[in-house]
C-alpha cells in the first residue's frame, strides 16, 4: 500500500481490537455512528461498489437474510466509497432495508481505519467485521475481491457471541 496512514501490518483489524468509532452519511441528510449501536452486535460489511451486475449481489443477499441477523439482535451496516446519492438510488433499486454508509469524504477514511482500503483501486476490500455490543471486533474476514463471501461466516460469528453471552 502506498498510503502513509495505512496500518503498517496491513490487513483487517483482528478480533480483540477496539472497533474505531465513525460517523458516516447514510442518506443525503442523515448520519449513522457506530456508537449508536452500543449494546448490540454490529455487522460491518465493506464492499467495493454499488451496482454489481448480478442477481443477489452481496447487499441484496444480506437483505434477504436480514431477519436472521435480527434474531441475534444484530444491526447490519453496508459501507462503500460510493456517495450518499448513489447509495440512495442503489438501495431503492434493491429495496434494501438496512443502511448503506458513504465512506466518501475523506474517501475511504473509515475503511483505512479498519485496514481494508485498496489504495490502488480507490475502493474498499470486500471485508466483514462482527463487532460486539461493547465495540470490540470479534470476527473479521477479507474475501477475494471478486468473491461474494455469503453470510455463513457472519452467522457463525454471531453464534459464537451468543454462546459466550450465555456461557
Amino acid at each position: 500500500m502506498t498510503d502513509k496512514t495505512a496500518r503498517p501490518t496491513g490487513g483487517p483489524l483482528p478480533p480483540g481490537t477496539r472497533a474505531p468509532d465513525f460517523t458516516l452519511p447514510s442518506t443525503p441528510g442523515q448520519t449513522v455512528s457506530l456508537h449508536d449501536f452500543r449494546g448490540r452486535p454490529v455487522i460491518l460489511a465493506f464492499y467495493p461498489a454499488d451496482w454489481s451486475p448480478v442477481c443477489g449481489d452481496q447487499m441484496a443477499l444480506y437483505n434477504e437474510i436480514l431477519p436472521e441477523f435480527e434474531r441475534y439482535g444484530a444491526a447490519l451496516l453496508g459501507v462503500s466509497v460510493d456517495g450518499a446519492w448513489c447509495h440512495k438510488a442503489f438501495s431503492e433499486n434493491r429495496k434494501l432495508r438496512f443502511p448503506l454508509l458513504a465512506d466518501f469524504e475523506p474517501k475511504g477514511a473509515v475503511a483505512r481505519g479498519y485496514g481494508v482500503y485498496r489504495a490502488a483501486e480507490g475502493t474498499t476490500e470486500r471485508a466483514l467485521f462482527v463487532i460486539d455490543g461493547a465495540g470490540v471486533v470479534r470476527w473479521s474476514y477479507v474475501s477475494p475481491i471478486g468473491v461474494n463471501p455469503g453470510a455463513d461466516g457472519i452467522l457463525r460469528a454471531l453464534d459464537a457471541l451468543d454462546a459466550k453471552k450465555k456461557g
Partner: protein, 180 residues
C-alpha cells in the same frame, strides 16, 4: 479462480429429502441453490443438463431452493409449486417447466403447469394458497445461507462451493476433476 483454504462448504449434507437426479453412488454430486425467477439460473439450466449428459452416471444433481424473494416476487411461490409437484412425483418436470416459463409465474399459471404435467392441480393450488411447502423452501434457503450461498445460482461440487465460472466448459472440467 483458485481454491481457497477456507472455501465455503455445504453445511447440510445431501440426504434422502433432497431432489436428486442421478445415482446416489455417483462419484460426483453437484448441488445447485437456485431461484426459478432468477435469469442467471435460467441461463444455467441448459448448462446443467449438458453436463449431466456429458458425465452420465458419474454425476448426481441436486436442486435446493434459494428464492431471492425481495428481488423476485414470484420466486418463493414457484419454489412451493415445485415442492407440491415433488409430492406427486414430478419435481424435475416442474423444475423444467418453471425455468421454461420463467416470465409467467403467477399462481394461476403455476396451477396450469401442474395440470399440464398431469398432476392433481387442485391439490397444488390448495398447497400454494395455504403455503403448505413454505417451511421446506425456507429450510433449503437457510441451509444455503449456512453453506455460504452467495447469490443464485450457487453450485457445490462434492460439498465445496464452486467459485469458478459455471459456463459449460469450466463447469464440466471442474466436475471431471472431481470425478477423478
Amino acid at each position: 479462480m483458485t481454491k481457497h483454504r477456507d472455501v465455503a462448504a455445504l453445511a447440510i449434507p445431501v440426504d434422502a429429502h433432497d431432489h436428486a437426479a442421478g445415482r446416489p453412488d455417483a462419484p460426483v454430486t453437484l448441488v445447485e441453490y437456485g431461484d426459478f425467477e432468477c435469469p442467471h439460473c435460467r441461463k444455467a439450466w441448459p448448462i446443467v443438463k449438458a453436463v449431466q449428459h456429458r458425465l452420465g452416471t458419474r454425476l448426481r444433481v441436486i436442486f435446493r431452493h434459494f428464492p431471492l424473494k425481495e428481488l423476485h416476487e414470484h420466486a418463493e411461490h414457484a419454489a412451493e409449486a415445485a415442492e407440491a409437484a415433488a409430492v406427486q412425483g414430478k419435481f424435475w418436470e416442474m423444475h423444467d417447466r418453471l425455468f421454461e416459463r420463467q416470465f409467467a409465474l403467477e399462481d394461476e399459471q403455476l396451477t396450469e403447469y401442474a395440470q399440464d404435467l398431469g398432476l392433481d392441480a387442485a391439490r397444488v393450488a390448495q398447497a400454494l394458497a395455504a403455503h403448505t411447502y413454505k417451511p421446506n423452501v425456507r429450510e433449503d434457503f437457510m441451509s444455503g445461507v449456512r453453506s455460504g450461498v452467495n447469490g443464485t445460482p450457487t453450485f457445490f461440487i462434492n460439498g465445496l462451493r464452486h467459485d469458478g465460472s459455471w459456463d459449460e466448459e469450466p463447469l464440466a472440467a471442474a466436475l471431471e476433476q472431481a470425478a477423478r
